[in-house]
Amino acid sequence: QRRVHGALTPSWAKMAPPKAVAKPKAKQEAKVQKPKRMITKDIGGDKNGGKRTVRASRLPRYYPTEDRPRKIKNRRLAFSQHKRRLRSSITPGTVLITVAGRHKGKRVVFLKQLNSGLLLVTGPYHLNGCPLRRINQIYVIATKTRIDISGVKLPERLNDQYFKRTKLKKPKHSDGEIFDTKKEEYTVSDERKEDQVTVDKQLTAAIKKSADKKYLFAYLGAMFALGNKQYPHKMVF
């Protein structure tokens, strides 16, 4: 037995590491009195000792089942906290084929993925009419064609808030003016035009550096189509 009544037997005690010598307490600490745990209290009534030693502070009447209550992890996350995934075939500079939406069939350049997970793309506008725009990656076919976009600096203000749809004011039908008030049409803001120009300029410069530049310009301007006996699941994009 190593221990007898809690203490180490002499043979084991020899092997025990030397006890750390306690540093002498400062005199100030010695003066401070420990708070008393038990208090004697006077009680009234006959024949009951007159005094009771009682705890100074009462023990809690409730003990939680967990000593350290653990936070329950909420699996239901808000959209802003969602994990964003991006297909490995889509990298900055990849030419994408849009397959749905207003610009379906167009070949478009991928710039970056925004915080919402949507892809920021541009036509470029002067090639195929697709402006700086957000698309969901599920409506897009990634081709193997890549443009070196490392030299392209995107304006910092291009984020989800920038592209968020703005509500157009509906005409208020006041008396006698029901047919006069026109619907407010969407107009492109000046900052959008400005950003489009800056981005497209840089992109055009990047495309000009590549060997296939003539074909690339024509490629981005052309629409995608499937011909006879062309099966997408068998094709390499």
């Binding site: 030419v95 084929i97 070949r107 081709t143 193997k144 064609t145 296939d212 074909y215 690339l216 024509a218 490629y219 052309a222 995608f224 068998k234 094709m235 390499v236 994009f237």
Partner: protein, 161 residues
């Protein structure tokens, strides 16, 4: 074979039949080794052959004839010879090069190339085709114009020919 000016006449031509024989080079069309060449080393029974392809990454195995398509090539090997001697015979005949020069192999290579084209490649191909066809059409139209302009005598003479 000359037909002395008569077309549509049946000609006596020795037909090139490809026999299953020891040494016949076959193209494996089905199975794990699809697309590879092998040599028939021995025949097991009516349906199966012992096959080997040391230079084409085919392990010696028994293959059904239905899984292979016979090529026009043969190599001289003794029946059931070892892997090493199949390899020797193959390399002696330079079979890999012969195969790659054949039309069959070229067709396969073309097919694979076409299947691997990316969207951009297909676009460039379309443009190349358009340019080529434009050149052809130009020349053809020139010839057509020249024919239209030529005097009737010349045309009649040309037609008689």
């Amino acid at each position: 074979q000359s037909t002395w000016g008569f077309s549509g006449v049946p000609t006596m031509v020795k037909k090139e039949t490809r026999f299953v024989e020891v040494g016949r080079v076959a193209y494996i069309a089905h199975g794990d080794d699809k697309g590879k060449l092998c040599v028939i080393v021995d025949v097991v029974d009516q349906n199966r052959a012992l096959v080997d392809g040391p230079c084409t990454n085919v392990n010696r195995k028994i293959l059904n004839f239905k899984a292979m398509h016979l090529t026009k090539f043969t190599i001289t090997i003794p029946r059931s010879c070892r892997n090493r001697f199949v390899r020797k015979a193959w390399e002696k005949e330079n079979m890999t090069q012969k195969w790659e020069e054949s039309t069959w192999a070229k067709k396969i290579a073309n097919r694979e190339l076409r299947a691997s084209l990316t969207d951009f490649d297909r676009f460039k191909l379309m443009i190349a085709k358009q340019q080529r066809n434009r050149l052809i059409r130009n020349e053809f139209c020139k010839l057509k114009k020249a024919w239209a302009k030529a005097p009737k005598k010349d045309k009649k003479a040309a037609k008689k020919k």
